[in-house]
């Protein structure tokens, strides 16, 4: 009976989320829905390397205990988080147990710590909209009882919730981004697959000095301290093919 009622409620829940007027309002409506299944805590975030300047502007909403949350986003901890690692590799929803079984020893310690804060069970819904940073919604709690159909409905609610939250979040600033010239793009493409400046000069039929100049200009435009960082930044910003 209860399951049937919830099933009928999903379209209403989606409408409610879609018409929310603020991020807090959106989250309140979302959490109202997932609470029925035993989920009490949520973490919505875009996953961006913590040392990138953009990381400070990443979208993040959570009602996790602040001690746990601060620790998770401290230093480089985020890149070791088993849930984050699993979300990067997996495009489908997954349970935290799946992430735990693939975690490193340090990762398992992190998850064990979460269990102490009553976040022992949970699911993560990775969000992979083309052209947007990878993100996800994690929901957790204790005594969770969900069927696959319930999870499918929660996944829908999570998709709508995440989209709505994105609409309230300002896009990453692009004003300071300088366009790379076609030659700078080409030299970065070759550098990203390990070609030296000399090899690139042979392939592109230009002088080695011209290749080095182009790489220098690209590094400067991308605020990169070396060519490796320039290549990864160009990939992250979709300027070159990964």
């Amino acid at each position: 009976m209860e399951q049937g009622r919830i099933h009928a409620d999903i379209l209403g829940t989606l409408k409610s989320i879609d018409t929310a007027q603020s991020a807090d309002d959106t989250l309140a409506r979302y959490i109202l829905f997932v609470r029925r299944f035993g989920f009490s805590n949520f973490l919505v975030s875009q996953i961006i390397h913590p040392l990138r300047p953009e990381a400070k502007k990443a979208m993040m909403h959570s009602n996790w205990p602040s001690e746990l949350l601060n620790k998770r986003f401290e230093g480089m901890n985020l890149v070791h988080d088993p849930v984050v690692k699993y979300a990067m590799a997996c495009k489908f929803r997954f349970s935290w147990d799946d992430a735990y079984s693939h975690a490193s020893r340090f990762g398992k310690l992190m998850m064990d710590e979460a269990k102490e804060h009553k976040l022992g069970e949970g699911y993560t819904f990775p969000m992979r909209r083309p052209g947007a940073p990878l993100g996800g919604i994690s929901i957790g709690g204790e005594g969770i009882d969900v069927s696959p159909q319930d999870l499918s409905e929660i996944e829908l609610a999570s998709l709508h919730c995440y989209s709505k939250l994105e609409s309230f979040h300002p896009p990453f600033p692009k004003a300071n981004r300088k366009d790379l010239s076609p030659q700078e793009v080409d030299v970065l493409h070759f550098a990203s697959v390990g070609k030296s400046a000399w090899e690139t000069s042979r392939i592109m039929a230009i002088s080695e000095a011209a290749v080095k100049d182009a790489l220098k200009r690209a590094r400067s435009k991308l605020d990169a301290v070396n060519t490796v960082q320039a290549c990864t930044t160009a990939i992250v910003r979709d300027l070159i093919v990964p």
């Binding site: 379209l11 998709l159 793009v185």
Partner: protein, 223 residues
Amino acid sequence: MILIIPPQVRDLVRDRLRQMFVLRHDVCFEQWRWRFPNQNDEIDIDDFDTEETIYLVYVDTDRDDVIGCCRLNPTTSPYMVSELWSERCNLQPPPRDPSVWESSRFCISRNLSSKREYMEIMWRMCAGVCEYCVAVGIKKIAWYTGPAFYQTINSLMPVEPLGTPYFDEKDQDTYIAGTGLVDEQAVLAARRNLQNPNVQLTYAVSPLAGRPDFDQFKKKEAA
């Protein structure tokens, strides 16, 4: 530019249509690794390329090739969601309404120079499809897609799922059937993602096919 190819002008653009079918084959069978029992080795044509289908084809005039495409089918005739996946529509029945059309085979070439160019062509196709729908009075589009593209559509227009996400064992992928409300706001939302939001996108193949009133968007934007 995006060519609009309704059924009555197909003979005028046979070569373009063939290029489109080749692109679809490349994307569906080589990139997405779909497998059908009777698939053709060069082109992708199926039962839903019908007498009523309208194609939107993105032509790169420099390369003289098709680099993006989409097909629209009326929901008043059999269409993919109603015929193939109706049992996955567990929240609402597949629509049958003259103002609701199905968008399918939304393909972008994988031979573009960068992901940025890929995204630009994808957004241009999204904007072109929305513009065309608004111009000819299509109020909603139905589709069957993965969660990532579901979110892309949701970033442009209000969407309603027809079913809950379905994990397809064969494809090892998740799909959702849904509908989206296409209006001027959706056109503007799609155009905001373009490098030049004011670029003219869509062109009718022949005066016989009629030319939608695209200037209305410019007026609204200016206002």
